[in-house]
């Protein structure tokens, strides 16, 4: 088949064309599926959010921005947005701080590193539903009459009774109790990312700084943290978009809570759409959720795929 190098270009060109067709056919099912099930469906949802469809039977009469106006004037949705902000900020700080601390601890040439790493990571393998059910009982405060249960009981036993509180049953805590369970589940992820980053920093770099008289803390502040910045950015985006979408954990752990103190937009959407049959309102919440995630994800996606394309 292949003999002269001169014949190569023409030949490989022809060889390309029929294979090119097959290559397009190979990805066609996926491309069509994503076009319909992601982009088509998003378009439908956005369209539905501008209609009057507030009962079981579809009603596609156009109402303009009315659903959005109503939504932003709904107390529940206002609380949900505030809860999302609180949850996102606390969850990000907790996961980043804990994840970084654990990664640095594990990077000190310790024994049983594999064991510790697995302990911090295993919550990632289980369902939010399982996490929610277990933490619901752990953070069940008990009652005055029958005594404390869960973590409160543990606090009593070890002499830390002053830490006892109502957890998710206290409207002032509400969503913050969910942050504890979410951090328990996701902090290992940040640890893994940072640990991979730390392992990528050559030892010479740290050694050179130490020779120059830098303390161990200065090495981390001035050398290691700046080098880990891309990882921090990645972690903020991944965790940030997760916290905007948080749903399963709220369903299984707390539900909307007293005075919607642990309610989130994703739960409200599910509630109003599939329990209340207010499809237009649900579509509105979904569209707002999508836009908030897109603001975070799209620049990151463009940046990531751009730089990858240069390789």
């Amino acid at each position: 088949m292949a003999h002269a190098t001169l014949a190569m270009p023409r030949k490989s060109k022809r060889w390309l064309t029929s294979d090119r067709l097959i290559s397009l056919l190979l990805i066609a099912p996926s491309v069509i599926a994503i076009a319909v099930f992601v982009y088509g469906f998003i378009g439908f949802t956005a369209f539905a959010s501008f209609t009057k469809w507030d009962q079981m039977l579809p009603d596609f009469s156009f109402v303009g921005w009315r659903n959005y106006e109503k939504l932003f004037n709904t107390t529940r949705f206002q609380i949900d947005l505030a809860n999302t902000v609180v949850f996102t900020i606390l969850f990000l700080i907790a996961c980043l701080a804990l994840g970084f601390l654990l990664a640095v601890l594990l990077d000190q040439h310790i024994r049983f590193e594999g064991f510790f790493r697995s302990v911090f990571l295993f919550p990632l393998a289980i369902s939010y539903i399982v996490t929610g059910v277990v933490w619901r009982w752990l953070l069940n405060p008990g009652s005055v009459q029958l005594g404390s249960t869960g973590v409160n009981l543990l606090f009593e036993k070890v002499g830390l009774a002053f830490l006892k509180n109502g957890w998710y049953t206290d409207p002032n805590i509400g969503i913050k109790a969910v942050v504890i369970a979410a951090t328990w589940q996701m902090s290992g992820y940040v640890m893994a990312m940072y640990l991979a980053g730390l392992r990528g920093i050559p030892e010479d770099l740290r050694e050179a700084a130490r020779v120059d008289g830098a303390t161990e803390i200065e090495v981390y502040r001035h050398i290691i943290l700046p080098l880990l910045q891309p990882i921090t950015l990645g972690a903020v985006i991944i965790l940030g978009h997760m916290s905007l979408k948080i749903f399963d954990l709220v369903v299984s752990m707390t539900g909307p809570g007293p005075g919607f103190s642990s309610d989130v937009p994703a739960f409200f959407m599910w509630d109003t759409t599939f329990r209340g049959n207010n499809f237009a309102q649900g579509a509105g919440i979904a569209t707002i959720l999508l836009l908030s995630v897109a603001v975070l994800i799209v620049p990151y996606l463009v940046y990531s795929t751009r730089t990858e394309a240069d390789v």
């Binding site: 697995s118 302990v119 289980i126 979408k245 919440i285 795929t305």
Partner: protein, 287 residues
Amino acid sequence: MSAPKNWVTRLPRAILYLVLLAFTVFYLLPVYVLLITGMKGYTEVSLHSMWDLPRAFAFDSFAKAWFGSPAEGFRGLGDNFWNSIQLAIPATIFSSLLGSMNGYVLAKWKFKGSNTLFMLLLFGMFIPYQSILIPLVLLTQTLGLYGTIPGLIFVHTVYGIPITTLIFRNYYATVPTELIEAAGIDGAGILGIYRHIMFPISLPGFVVVMIWQFQSVWNDFLFGVIITSRPAVQPITVALNNLAGSYIVEWNVQMAGSLLAALPTMLIFVFLGRYFMRGLLAGSLKG
């Protein structure tokens, strides 16, 4: 960083290990409660002794969580466990195969706009699924897939495409292009190269992708609760949530049920943790 010699240098090491142990306690606390509660007999189960070790082993809670209690009027998780198996295995296989083909084309048969297409595909793995639920329910109802396990398999396959494509594309990108050119000169076409070169060398990639997909389908709740309303076809996460939301089910049975629902993915983590990690880090794109 050589071995510490006296107590002055040893002290920080001791503190280091103490801190690590304290965190270990925090992460294992729920597991401790899950295990000891599951092992307690009915006479011993009380919220007020939830931290105490069991005096005798009994597996009543597991039996009740698995088989249910028709007398008290609740279903066990046994059937739902099998539903999840029947759902997760085909969904995993289908989306892995699609992802492998996409990854191959997008890594080695790039065309004008293929990077943009890849980006558009990837966006699908970040969207809040709330934004597609309403038309998804309508379409699955129209197609007769609503409320069925094949319907759920289909949905998980479709929404699994972005992540499987991402992992395979990054995997295939590391295969030298010379290898493919050489095979092309030898007369192999796109399918031949896939079958004889790419597919065989991507078996470790398949392990990573399949583990990742299995655990995400197994752990999914949203699609399960939206697509299946009949308890008989619901996956285990949905059934567990129903069990936990029911006032007639004791908390120890809920704990045992949680352990059953967590078991398959926990076993995968314990035995194939390395591969699990790779899938995890791939999900952060450049992580």
